[in-house]
């Protein structure tokens, strides 16, 4: 009888040992999985930061590209015998551009969309204070103006080709992202 009891005790011990071992193994596996999950979460967060940084750079690049393009539009700049005067817009060309945009809005929108994309481009006359304003491109559909927009203000001269006088103007470019 004592042998039986001893045998049972040893058997029970063995089962407990086995259970312990299994438990240990399972615990280790779970622990490793938890570590891996933590690692993935941390690296994803780090990636997110890096992506956000890249996105910011690209948004900046986009705004700069559009601003440079808008301030160098040959078709609106002042010119004398084919020589362009940079940082200067011809008032009559601006008005002409708006006339053309009204008449052929589809063609103009399509042509300039490839460069301006989602942006508003306006030129305002500051001095003398005349309230003259020309909106040469307008595309802010679907964007919340107050949230994700960047406004660039560039001083430009506005030339009256008849009187040959220049006034102080402002080129306002609002880009949306």
């Amino acid at each position: 009888m004592s042998c039986d009891i001893l045998r049972k005790m040893i058997f029970r011990n063995k089962i407990k040992k086995a259970q312990l071992q299994m438990g240990e193994t399972i615990f280790v596996v779970i622990f490793i999985i938890i570590l891996i999950v933590f690692g993935i979460v941390f690296s994803t967060n780090a990636e997110e930061d890096s992506i956000r940084e890249k996105q910011k750079t690209l948004t900046d690049l986009n705004a700069i590209t559009i601003s440079k393009y808008a301030s160098s539009l040959i078709e609106l700049q002042c010119s004398t015998l084919g020589v362009i005067d940079k940082s200067c817009f011809d008032k009559y060309k601006l008005t002409a551009f708006m006339n053309l945009s009204e008449k052929e809005s589809g063609q103009i929108a399509e042509y300039y969309f490839s460069q301006f994309k989602n942006a508003n481009v306006t030129i305002k006359e500051i001095y003398p204070p005349t309230n003259n304003e020309w909106t040469i491109y307008y595309n802010e559909l679907g964007f919340n103006k107050t949230k994700k927009s960047k406004m660039t203000n560039i001083p430009v001269s506005l030339l009256d080709p008849i009187s040959k006088q220049k006034s102080f103007g402002e080129l306002i470019i609002t880009t949306f992202s």
Binding site: V28, F31, L35, F38, G39, F42, A46, D49, K56, T57, T59, D60, L61, A63, I64, S67, S71, S87, C88, I126, Y127, P128, P129, K150, T152, N153, I154, P155, V156, S157, Q165, K166, S167, F168, G169, E170
Partner: protein, 176 residues
């Protein structure tokens, strides 16, 4: 001997677990170090790409545009008013409303600056030095020549030729 066996086994298990815990601790500390380096706040004096471009563009364009602006009351450009106001020749320009060139110059610059630089809310320093004694200057948000992060100013000389000397228009935009 048989009594010691379970004790040794216990110690083995304890050592194993202890080792595991140390590994976990090391990994955790390493992660913390990594995170602390990664989430460093931005250097406050570092301008973004966009700011670099915008500030340069504004500084250059503002001065050039201002100098070419025509003041119809005085039948002269700002550049001509500067020459008339600053040169030894004396003030010959009289505007339609009776102002002399210096008054008209000051009024025009103030108006344009109010409608542009002040509206845009950039910290800027704008100055027009007519000679060693006379200088018109405007500063916003303490943006002086000594301010850290002030962009290279646009400097625009206007000679008084044939009279000696020249006026210097200077504009600098400071970091945000």
């Amino acid at each position: 001997m048989t009594k010691n066996k379970p004790l040794i086994r216990f110690k083995n298990a304890q050592t194993e677990i202890f080792g595991l815990v140390i590994i976990v601790l090391i990994i955790t500390i390493a992660m913390l170090f990594y995170l602390s380096f990664k989430t460093n706040p931005d250097n406050p004096t570092k301008k973004t790409l966009y700011q670099e471009y915008a500030y340069n563009e504004i500084a250059t364009s503002f001065a050039q545009t201002l100098l070419h602006t025509y003041v119809s009351d005085c039948r002269a450009t700002v550049s001509e008013l500067i020459i008339d106001c600053g040169s030894l020749r004396g003030r010959r320009i009289v505007c339609a409303d009776g102002r002399n060139s210096c008054e008209a110059l000051n009024d025009t610059i103030v108006y344009i600056k109010n409608e542009t630089l002040d509206e845009w809310n950039y910290p800027y320093g704008l100055s027009l030095k007519l000679d060693s004694n006379r200088k018109i200057s405007f500063i916003k948000y303490n943006c002086t020549t000594d301010t850290v992060g002030r962009g290279t100013p646009g400097v625009f000389p206007t000679p008084y030729y044939p009279d000696p000397g020249m006026a210097v228009l200077e504009i600098g935009i400071c970091k945000y």
